[in-house]
């Protein structure tokens, strides 16, 4: 019976994906994308990847959807610009893609005799980190360098987005409030939901050490709540020249890096944790990272500065 359910959700996902590609209206396509992300997190739960399900629900549908939606609303006038390629080109592209899909399906059908896995290793060394969630163990202990560099990538992307603003607006604030015309209900919502969201974000970050969750999921919830507040006009987006914002942006990666270098002194090397304090250090890093991720993701979604800075 579980298989029947899986067939149902798989066919729904494929149908929604195809619909998203074919939809005529870009706004509708983005809405379908959000729906797709919400359903995809059910698929991740079916694959026993609860950590990923949380991330997909938060980032894959929520914040990406909001970003694409505001862009689609702004580009409404350019809708219909450009034409689909001619029918033969579509057929050729379609058969190429079908070929690639068939190849991938073949790979799925012919798995290795012994499925490659690092799970036993990950579990065997987990006690040294003091964590109970193996995914957090991979993210913050075994492959901590990847996670650190990912934070740097986020900051670089934010720099890229900021530098796309016009010269006049440099140092100003993103114009997010203009996207939703504020009304009293939205304001009420933006006052009621964030407290709940912030509690949930703190819980996510805290519980990540032993259960599914962590800094990414917690940070994304923070970002979403801040975006809601800015969209409703309850608080304005900060100017990008604000020193406070910039400190928040670098706090997480800087602390991570500092702990990494501390590893030379108190442990085996770069990004190594002393066994006794491993969990405390990791939780400390996660808290700082959750704040930084929240601010970074929200500003990435808010886009380049558009309001000219007030002197």
């Amino acid at each position: 019976m579980a298989l029947v359910f899986d067939i149902g959700i798989v066919s729904l996902l494929i149908a929604i994906g195809a619909w998203m590609i074919m939809a005529r209206d870009t706004l509708v396509a983005v809405i379908i994308f959000v729906v797709y992300g919400l359903l995809m997190s059910i698929a991740w739960v079916r694959l026993s990847a609860v950590d990923v399900a949380l991330t997909e629900a938060a980032i894959g549908s929520g914040i990406t959807g909001m970003l694409l939606l505001s862009a689609a609303a702004r580009l409404r006038q350019t809708e219909g610009a450009g034409a689909r390629p001619s029918f033969p080109v579509c057929i050729a592209a379609g058969s190429l893609c079908a070929l690639i899909s068939a190849g991938l399906a073949g790979v799925v059908l012919l798995p290795a005799d012994v499925a490659p896995t690092l799970a036993p290793l990950a579990v065997a060394n987990l006690s040294d980190t003091g964590l109970e969630n193996p995914v957090a163990g991979v993210l913050f202990a075994y492959r901590a360098l990847d996670t650190l560099l990912e934070k740097v990538v986020l900051l670089l992307a934010l720099l890229g987005v900021w530098s796309l603003g016009s010269d006049r607006a440099w140092g100003g604030a993103p114009a997010l409030g203009a996207y939703v015309p504020p009304n009293d209900i939205l304001v009420f919502f933006a006052q009621v939901l964030p407290p709940i969201g912030i509690v949930f974000a703190a819980y996510m970050t805290w519980t990540g050490a032993s259960h599914p969750g962590g800094a990414f999921q917690g940070g994304t919830v923070l970002a979403v709540m801040w975006l809601l507040v800015m969209m409703a006009g309850v608080a304005r987006a900060p100017p990008i020249s604000s020193t406070k914002v910039r400190w928040l942006l670098v706090a997480g990666p800087a602390l991570f890096l500092a702990v990494g270098f501390l590893g030379f002194v108190i442990a085996a090397g770069f990004l190594a944790y002393p066994v006794d304090y491993a969990k405390a250090l990791i939780v400390l890093i996660e808290v700082a990272l959750a704040l930084s991720i929240g601010v970074t993701l929200a500003l990435l979604a808010a886009g380049p500065p558009e309001r000219t800075p007030q002197p």
Partner: protein, 103 residues
Amino acid sequence: MQHSEWSMMMSSFLLVSAILVLASIAIGLVRILYSRQAADCMMAAQLVGTGGIAVLLLVAVATETAPTGDVALMLALLAAFASVAFVGGMRGTGSKAAEGADK
């Protein structure tokens, strides 16, 4: 013996329920997104949020996977946010498009 029989039956029952809810989400989605009215599209996140949480909880209990209360909470929060974004996106700049679609 009797206990396992009960739990087998219960798990099948919960899965059938999940499939039914999933099917009703799918039909609702087709109805909403094929509509000519912009307001219908804004309901999509609400529909999939509520229904998706029900499906998720039913399946998680039926297959005894890890507790998924957190995922359900996350879906509830994010579906609410997505609905607000939909209303803004369809209405913020698309007023003439929305009016055009209303006719």
